[in-house]
């Protein structure tokens, strides 16, 4: 003890000198002025101001194993709400370090596994959260934009969809590390694992093919064999399928039910009703035999659609499945055995739009909350939450239910800013936004980006053209490939009139425009820790050098010169061979490329002599560096 005492003065001296030297700061307020603090918090979307309220945006609902609580992932407020179902109130709220995109609960209910990501920090991770205290015990690094965490039945592994890495992370719970990655097709959005943990069913939300190969233009469901990857199969859905979002496995483990849209892109979009442009579908996959049972339309009948089916769940007894129609603001309560019986026929039912018309099979229930994207089922009750409202609604599951039996308030309702209004109108496909509630803006432009299909629009746009991204569209006039619309306002107006069949109104058009103005590019998965790699930096030097002519047509900061240029693939059906030059920001996610989507291979696109002569002047390494830079934007 004497020795310790002898050293005490030394320790005190050191601490004193440390404090004295490091924190006697004259310039602290200058360096960390309120401006810098608030700017940083605003950049991280943490700051709430009167003009920029922080919305909740419930995006996932997961029941606790004891069925007394619901965990709600409130995406934009970066919180997890714990809802007590006994007294129907918010019991606790856990702050997350970033936006939660999905929740899984351990079997004993002690831990939550929350996927965390945001457009600022897309290199995401899984937070292991103590379910009672909300303390974050561990952070496990996974991939780009992780979502839909799925626990294995024995609780030893967690499967996470890395949306923009096109793969699945397999996380070892005990070691708290990612064991491996499993490659799937494109933008996996949801997944489920079978009870014997042999098969992981993955919904790839976008097609991966040339848009001009119309027979191949569809999404795939990956049935990943977790024991032997060589037995993995990728089942093709109906031609034109895309936006594959929700998934449930029937309690007997036989079938996977998967929601998606089917685009009728080969027809000119001259009418909306009757599923002429989109039908809203649910496919049934026989998991054991790795085959599609059928793909059925969940629309009502030829006059009324049920736009944007999203979340889907089954009751424990297997009697019903419940589908959330985010666009139509409805729930479908469907008699599951009857639906499977109807689907188990030779005839392909994807376009048969009155299949679920009889009220003895399906009950359509309106949801008061706006844009319900998720469903949770506890016993004979279904719960859903509107993405744009701060409430959870409870429904009895039967074919007679006509309205919600209870409403749980997550927080007082908030006033919409113009931007938020625009976002709401963009995702809404109810009968006030689309004739017959068949589709929304989000149907052709999922999350404001392209659906990877060629579309034949109504009047004046002639032949099929690849769907465009809305990113930076207010700053990149003219609109569409053939420049038939002068600016984004005109495009929105025509979209509402011709693709939604509604009378354009300034109260909808202006907010959607504001929403588009505020869209931000998502950092590319080609970046490493948000930075260009050394190779991409070399590519940047080449991009701006005289060796290539990239910067002529794609100059920074918009990476387009807003001019018309001769296309790589001339289109004989158009009056002019010239097409609008697209921005190459986010080109990593907007394939297939060019105005009719003739290529999914970026190298082919850049090397096409009608596009650029750069390949001739560059070595292979220089070309690869240039390509990496371009894909990093």
């Amino acid at each position: 003890m004497k020795t310790v005492n002898k050293n005490m003065p030394m320790v005190i001296t050191v601490i004193a000198s440390f404090c004295g030297f490091t924190l006697a700061q004259d310039n602290i307020k200058s360096l960390l002025s309120p401006g810098v603090i608030f700017e940083t918090l605003a950049l991280n979307k943490d700051l709430e101001t009167p003009a920029k309220p922080k919305y909740l945006s419930p995006t996932d609902l997961v029941p606790s194993p004891d069925k007394t609580k619901l965990y709600v992932a409130e995406q934009t407020s970066k919180t997890i709400a714990v809802v007590n179902l006994t007294d129907k109130s918010v019991e606790k709220r856990f702050q997350m370090p970033n936006e939660p995109s999905g929740i899984a609960v351990s079997k004993d209910g002690a831990k939550l596994y929350v996927t965390i990501t945001s457009e600022r920090w897309p290199e995401g991770y899984v937070c292991v959260v103590d379910a009672s205290s909300g303390k974050i015990e561990k952070r496990i690094k996974v991939g780009h934009s992780p979502r839909c965490p799925v626990l294995s039945p024995n609780g030893e592994r967690l499967y996470v969809c890395n949306q923009y890495n096109d793969d699945i992370s397999v996380v070892n719970i005990a070691s708290g590390k990612e064991d491996k990655k499993i490659k799937v097709v494109r933008e996996p959005y949801s997944a489920r694992v079978t009870s014997d943990e042999k098969i992981l069913v993955v919904a790839n939300s976008l097609p991966l093919c040339n848009s001009t190969d119309t027979a191949e233009a569809h999404c795939k469901i990956s049935l990943v064999d977790l024991n032997d990857n060589s037995k993995t199969v990728h089942l093709g859905l109906t031609q034109g399928s895309h936006s594959v979002f929700g998934m449930a496995i029937t309690p007997d483990g036989k079938y996977a039910l998967i929601t998606h849209l089917v685009a009728m892109f080969n027809l000119p979009a001259t009418q909306i009703t009757g599923g002429w442009v989109h039908t809203n579908n649910l496919c049934i996959v026989d998991i054991e035999n790795k085959k599609l049972v059928n793909d059925i339309s969940v629309d009502h009948y030829d006059k009324i659609g049920m736009s944007n089916p999203w979340g889907v769940e089954c009751t424990e007894d297997g009697k019903y499945c419940v589908i959330a129609h985010a666009g139509a603001n409805m729930l479908s309560i469907v008699d599951l055995p009857q639906m499977i019986k109807l689907a188990d026929v030779q005839e392909w039912l994807a376009h048969k739009i009155n299949l679920l018309y009889p009220s003895t099979i399906r009950n359509r229930v309106p949801v008061v909350g706006l844009n319900p994207r998720v469903v949770a089922i506890i016993n004979n009750k279904a719960y859903t939450a509107g993405y744009f409202t701060n409430t959870i609604e409870e429904f009895d599951i039967n074919l007679q239910t006509s309205k919600s039996t209870a409403t749980i308030s997550l927080a007082p309702e908030q006033t919409f800013t113009t931007e938020r209004k625009g976002e709401y109108h963009f995702y809404n496909g109810d009968e006030y936004h689309c004739q017959g509630a068949w589709q929304s803006c989000h149907s052709c432009h999922p999350f404001t980006r392209p659906d990877a299909l060629d579309w034949m629009l109504a009047a004046g746009v002639t032949m099929q053209k690849n769907a465009k991204s809305m990113l930076h569209c207010p700053y990149t006039p003219p609109m569409n490939w053939a420049a038939k619309r002068n600016d984004y306002r005109e495009s929105i107006r025509y979209g509402i009139l011709q693709e939604l069949g509604m009378e354009p109104q300034d109260s909808i058009e202006t907010p959607i425009g504001e929403f588009f103005k505020r869209l931000k590019a998502l950092p590319s998965p080609y970046l490493v820790k948000g930075r260009l790699t050394e190779n991409a930096k070399k590519g940047r030097d080449i991009y701006y050098s005289d060796k290539t002519d990239c910067k002529g047509c794609h100059p920074a900061p918009l990476f387009t010169n807003l001019q018309m240029h001769t296309s790589i693939v001339p289109d004989q059906w158009d009056g002019s061979p010239n097409f609008d030059t697209p921005t190459i920001i986010e080109s990593w996610r907007t394939g297939p490329w060019d105005h009719i989507g003739t290529t999914t291979d970026y190298e082919t696109l850049l090397k096409n002599r009608l596009h650029s002569n750069c390949a001739k002047k560059l070595t292979d390494d220089e070309f690869k560096a240039l390509m990496e830079y371009s894909l990093s934007l």
């Binding site: 050293n7 004193a16 404090c19 940083t40 950049l43 950092p523 948000g530 930075r531």
Partner: protein, 274 residues
């Protein structure tokens, strides 16, 4: 007891190193600010690289490290150009903070305001009341430690409930800077592998020695030794092949025989040894 004695000896050495390191770090330099929410979740940290009237701000959530702003000070005005993503795909936002009328305006070339308009800061001592369109939405106060030095910034809502707090630190990824007590200044920038730029500002001409020491304190290489005139000057310091083996060393600078800078540097890719 012998273990305890040994432990204390080691501590003494560690404290000795710490003492010499911190005595060389300038007074008045915050290199890192860590942002936490009210639940103590670490949100991000920002670090600074200061250079005269401007400084660069880097932001990180421990996965990304991203240059988010370049702040230029002009008397009472502070203008920050913020990069929303990275410098190659960014659409910059300009934050202007006027410390005279404590007003901050936010705009970028696409009118994409982060805070939704003009924000006012009402200053009272170490506290700020932050308002927008007449509504007070946040309060902020700089907190001092027992020695009267700032070490924490609290951001609360209007009712005083803590929303976020910022902890100030002195270690980070920022460039090294040392403002010495007698008015001299020495700054060391890494300019690439085994290459450093030494910026000097001397009050009067002096003899400068630049050496490399191993972590155990052995002088392993003499880089230069020369007289430098008063005023500002720059010296490129290169570690050539054969000077030292790969590893971490202390790069030491002495003015008139007095050691003023002792920075850890990584030397890599050089052949030979000593």
């Amino acid at each position: 007891m012998s273990i305890l004695v040994n432990t204390c000896r080691k501590r003494k050495i560690v404290f000795g190193i710490l003492f010499s390191f911190f005595s060389l770090v300038s007074a008045g330099e915050v290199k890192r600010a860590d942002f936490f929410d009210a639940s103590d979740n670490h949100l991000m940290f920002i670090t600074f690289a200061e250079d005269g009237n401007s400084y660069e701000v880097f932001m990180s959530d421990s996965t990304f490290v991203r240059k988010v702003a370049l702040v230029k000070k002009d008397g009472k005005n502070e203008k920050a150009v913020s990069y929303n993503f990275n410098e190659d795909t960014s659409f910059v936002t300009t934050f202007s903070y006027n410390s005279t009328n404590t007003e901050m305006s936010v705009r970028d070339e696409f009118r994409n305001d982060q805070l939704g308009g003009k924000v006012n800061f009402k200053e009272a001592g170490d506290s700020y009341e932050v308002s927008q369109s007449g509504n007070v939405f946040n309060k902020m106060n700089y907190e001092k430690n027992g020695s009267g030095d700032y070490n924490r910034i609290n951001v609360t809502d209007n009712s005083g409930k803590l929303q976020y707090y910022v902890k100030l630190g002195t270690t980070g990824i920022a460039r090294l800077k040392s403002v010495l007590k007698n008015g001299n200044a020495a700054v060391l920038h890494s300019k690439g592998p085994n290459c450093f730029e030494l910026k000097l500002r001397l009050q009067e001409s002096a003899h400068i020695n630049c050496d490399i020491f191993s972590l155990s304190g052995r002088n392993v290489a003499k880089l230069f030794s020369k007289d430098v005139a008063a005023g500002s000057s720059r010296e490129m310091v290169r570690v050539a092949n054969g000077d030292v083996a790969n590893g971490v060393y202390l790069l030491s600078l002495a003015i008139n025989g007095k050691k003023v800078l002792n920075e850890k540097v990584l030397i890599q890719g050089v052949k030979g040894g000593f």
